[in-house]
């Protein structure tokens, strides 16, 4: 199952301090839904304020992005720029 890591502290208030989870999901949308089911409010936090790094590549607002069974997913603050 894909492994999800919360990199920063801001989302840990939803997880009781837990930072690593295995999630049964093959897309980012399903991952977010599953995390929100386990930790209510975390889904909204990811939707509104976080980027998803999948095996080192950064995805933002990408429900359709695919996850492999051995994917490493890191949740980081959303990125803008100048």
């Amino acid at each position: 199952m894909p492994k999800v890591v919360l990199a920063g502290m801001s989302a840990r208030r939803f997880t009781g301090g837990e930072t690593e989870f295995e999630v049964e999901a093959d897309t980012v949308r399903r991952m977010i839904a599953e995390l929100d089911r386990r930790f209510p409010g975390l889904g909204h936090q990811i939707d509104e304020g976080m980027a998803v790094a999948i095996d080192g590549e950064i995805f933002q607002d990408a429900y359709q992005a695919e996850l492999k069974p051995d994917s490493e997913i890191v949740l980081i603050p959303k990125i803008g720029g100048g």
Binding site: A7, G49, Q60, A65, G82
Partner: protein, 763 residues
């Protein structure tokens, strides 16, 4: 599909930009160039206080002034509830955005807008500003970031409680947020270290210093339809923010992008457009507002400044085993500094097993910060890359060697979490190592500094259309203002796919009613994301062109090849036909199915990370404290340069702005918190005569996510210069300067402190 670098005919060449002539001869229409019949002039009244309660605003005298048609204050805007969203270029609270456009209840910085007038001339509007009476209760203010964090500091917002700390604070403060990132065990790592170095660095907020001030003209019709012409980094951003701040439907607003005279992140917010729209709705006439340079400095967002505490632990062989980074970043009057990227970028260049990073987002009585190239990254990187240089000196090691030993590479787990893939940082170090610049010898009072930097780059939502015209030329329509030559890049990618000359493709930046949504121009995203949309639209057109040729030849579309702008039979079995050019197919398009065009929307993902390494030589005039940049080489992984000249231009521009940040730029406030240097005479940005030619060296490690291998380019170049310059100064005079800018007075003080007093001639 991916395009092979060897076979490219247009991509990688250096044609003239399509907007170049109009700009050179002064005919391009910028924000202030637009005029309309019956137009009124708007002006904004601004606070003279850094922090004050607004007891009352009386507008009756101004309204009675002949020629004045309307006055607006915050009371004329809908009161918006606090609502956080990630819009524009970072976290956004619409209530704060509204309050920033027009103060409500309190003013939070010198220059904060409190009212605006619309009048028949600029002079009358100016006169009316003086007739608006604002009664203030002046409050204590705070400018400095660390002062703002102290207990007992004047608090800007009664409802601001620090996020990210447990338990939730019981009292409000100026610290909006605390964030952390950890990797491994930093405390254990430092126990294992043989050399530990701990330093603190500061940099000042600096303005993006775009040459064109903010300007707009807005017309609200009697039918409720509104049109906004303005200079911004995103017409869709302008439309969304105006709609939100005035409670309008987006469909009732058409935002038309003007040419933009520089943005660099500073035009990813609105200041004037909602105000002009409110005035236009009130008067039923078009309203034009143009900021003065003083207003730009006093009323619009600078980049954040801050304090960066860095601790590095290493083995004597140069392997860094632990790092700590604390970032205290100025947000200005409202929360939202780029503290997240600052924390994530500062150490991203290195493979360090144990890292602890803490960041603070801090408000103070300054204008709300706005994005500026790679927001946050130059700040923290000034600290970390200066400290890397100090560690190298402590280890008696060449600092480039220290970077080579610890460089992040594919498979390295970054301190902020992700595992790097397809990155070109080591390549930039290799090019630096082999550069002729590094081999040249330095003279007296000269020094050399090296620094590296990282920026994420982003993708996101973009729309583009490719239309084939009846004569076989093509029009490319995009939704992103061109702030760095992107029209040329779009045309080149379309020309490459279609197989026609660049000159036969005309790129157009369209308004919000003429192309699908496109996220704003920023984050180094346009050539990557909008370029992806253009490429896919052109590919879709090629599929159609093959179908049309097949129809003319009466064969299967699968039996048609497309090459060099012509349709060919795929092989002998397809039949024997003379090639059909795009022009010939276009001419018959009416008979083969109608107009040939395609529009594509994408949400581009996987923008490749950008890394750079810079080498800077300086010479110090010990009499005056002047730091002369002798030579500067910027080496950057750009994925693939679509138009190398414009990539080099981005690199040179970013470096120049970084040098200004390092050497001269800062806001000077008086004891009352009023800005003393709101103009380019007193706020010194580098000009051409200050600098040598910046040597831009393009490294190409293609990004596999983009059909041409593109990575973002425009932001990384501003990340290393502050540390590169400071490291060069330290090398030249043997004194470490940790507080920017390295202006002549500070340089003189540092030189005097470290050199024995010279004997006077008479002694």
């Amino acid at each position: 599909m991916a395009y092979d670098g060897e076979s490219l005919k247009v991509v990688g060449t250096r044609p003239i930009r399509p907007d170049g002539v109009e700009k050179v001869v002064g005919r391009a229409n910028f924000g202030a160039d637009m005029v309309m019949p019956g137009m009124l002039w708007g002006k904004v009244k601004r606070s003279p206080h850094a922090h004050a309660r607004i007891k009352s605003i009386k507008t009756d005298k101004a309204l009675k002034h002949p020629g004045v048609k309307a006055v607006v204050t915050a009371a004329d805007f809908p009161e918006i509830a606090s609502e956080e969203a990630f819009m524009g270029e970072g976290p956004m609270n619409f209530r704060d955005l509204s309050y920033n456009c027009m103060a409500r209840g309190k003013v939070l910085y010198d220059g904060h807008a409190v009212a605006a007038v619309a009048a028949t001339s600029q002079a009358i509007a100016e006169e009316a500003l003086d007739l608006i009476e604002v009664d203030y209760e002046v409050l204590p203010h705070v400018i400095d970031v660390e002062d703002a964090m102290k207990p007992g500091a004047p608090v800007l917002h009664d409802d601001l409680f620090t996020q990210g700390v447990e338990p939730k604070p019981s009292a409000p403060s100026n610290i909006a947020k605390r964030i952390t990132f950890t990797k491994g065990d930093a405390a254990a790592g430092f126990k294992d270290a043989e050399v530990i170095i701990e330093r603190s660095y500061t940099s000042q907020p600096v303005h993006q210093a775009y040459i064109e001030p903010h300007a707009c003209i807005v017309s609200a019709g009697n039918d409720g339809q509104c049109t906004v012409w303005s200079s911004s980094q995103g017409q869709f951003m302008v439309r969304a923010y105006c709609a939100k701040l005035l409670g309008l439907d987006m469909a009732s607003i058409r935002a038309i992008p003007a040419e933009i005279g520089g943005g660099f992140g500073g035009k990813t917010l609105v200041y004037l457009e909602p105000v002009a729209l409110a005035l236009s709705k009130m008067t039923g006439r078009p309203v034009k507002i143009v900021m003065s340079r003083e207003e730009v400095f006093r009323g619009t967002g600078p980049a954040a400044g801050g304090v960066y505490e860095v601790k590095l632990g290493a083995k004597k062989d140069g392997h860094i085993v632990a790092a700590e980074l604390t970032v205290k970043l100025q947000a200005g009057a409202f929360p939202g500094s780029p503290v997240g990227p600052a924390c994530m970028c500062g150490l991203a260049m290195y493979d360090i097993p144990n890292v602890s990073i803490v960041g603070y987002d801090v408000v103070s009585n300054r204008p709300k910060v706005a994005a500026y190239r790679a927001p946050g990254a130059p700040n923290s990187t000034f600290g970390t890359e200066s400290c890397i240089d100090e560690l190298a000196r402590e280890l008696n090691m060449d600092s480039l060697r220290l970077r080579e030993i610890n460089a992040a590479r594919d498979g390295t787990k970054a301190a902020h979490g992700p595992t790097w893939a397809n990155i070109g940082y080591e390549k930039t170090l290799q090019v630096a190592r082999g550069s002729e610049h590094l081999a040249t010898k330095l003279g007296p009072n000269q020094g050399r500094g090296i620094a590296s930097g990282f920026w994420f780059n982003i993708g996101g939502e973009s729309s583009a259309a490719v239309h084939i015209n009846e004569d076989g030329t093509a029009t490319v329509v995009e939704g992103n203002p061109d702030i760095g030559g992107s029209r040329a890049s779009m045309a080149m990618m379309a020309a490459e796919v279609l197989g026609i000359p660049y000159e036969q493709v005309r790129p157009v930046v369209a308004d919000t009613a003429s192309i699908g949504f496109s996220f704003l121009t920023g984050g180094s995203r346009v050539t990557f994301a909008t370029g992806m949309a253009v490429t896919q639209a052109a590919e879709k057109v090629v599929v159609d062109l093959k179908k049309r040729a097949a129809m003319i030849w009466d064969i299967s579309p699968e039996a048609v090849d497309w090459k060099d702008g012509k349709a060919y039979p795929a092989g002998p079995n397809a039949g024997s036909f003379e090639p059909l050019s795009l022009q010939e197919i276009a001419l018959k398009s009416g008979r083969t199915g109608g107009p040939i065009s395609a529009e594509i929307t994408v949400n581009a993902q996987g923008a490749g990370a950008g890394f750079a390494t810079h080498i800077c030589d300086v010479e110090i005039d010990k009499e005056t404290g002047y730091v002369k940049i002798l030579r500067y080489t910027a080496i950057q992984d750009c994925g693939r340069a679509i138009h190398p000249s414009y990539v080099e231009g981005q690199i040179q521009g970013g470096v120049t702005q970084g040098i200004g940040w390092a050497l001269n730029e800062e806001y000077v406030y008086d004891k009352n918190g009023r800005l003393d240097n709101a103009g380019f005479l007193d706020y010194r940005i580098p000009v051409a005569s200050d600098l040598p030619m910046i040597d831009a060296v393009i490294v190409e490690v293609p990004n596999p996510r983009h059909p041409f291998g593109v990575r973002g380019v425009g932001e990384v170049p501003i990340v290393p210069p502050m540390a590169a310059v400071a490291n060069a100064v330290a090398d030249a005079i043997g004194v470490r300067m940790r507080d920017l800018p390295l202006s002549p007075p500070k340089m003189r003080a540092a030189i005097d402190e470290n050199e024995p007093p010279r004997k006077m001639a008479a002694e």
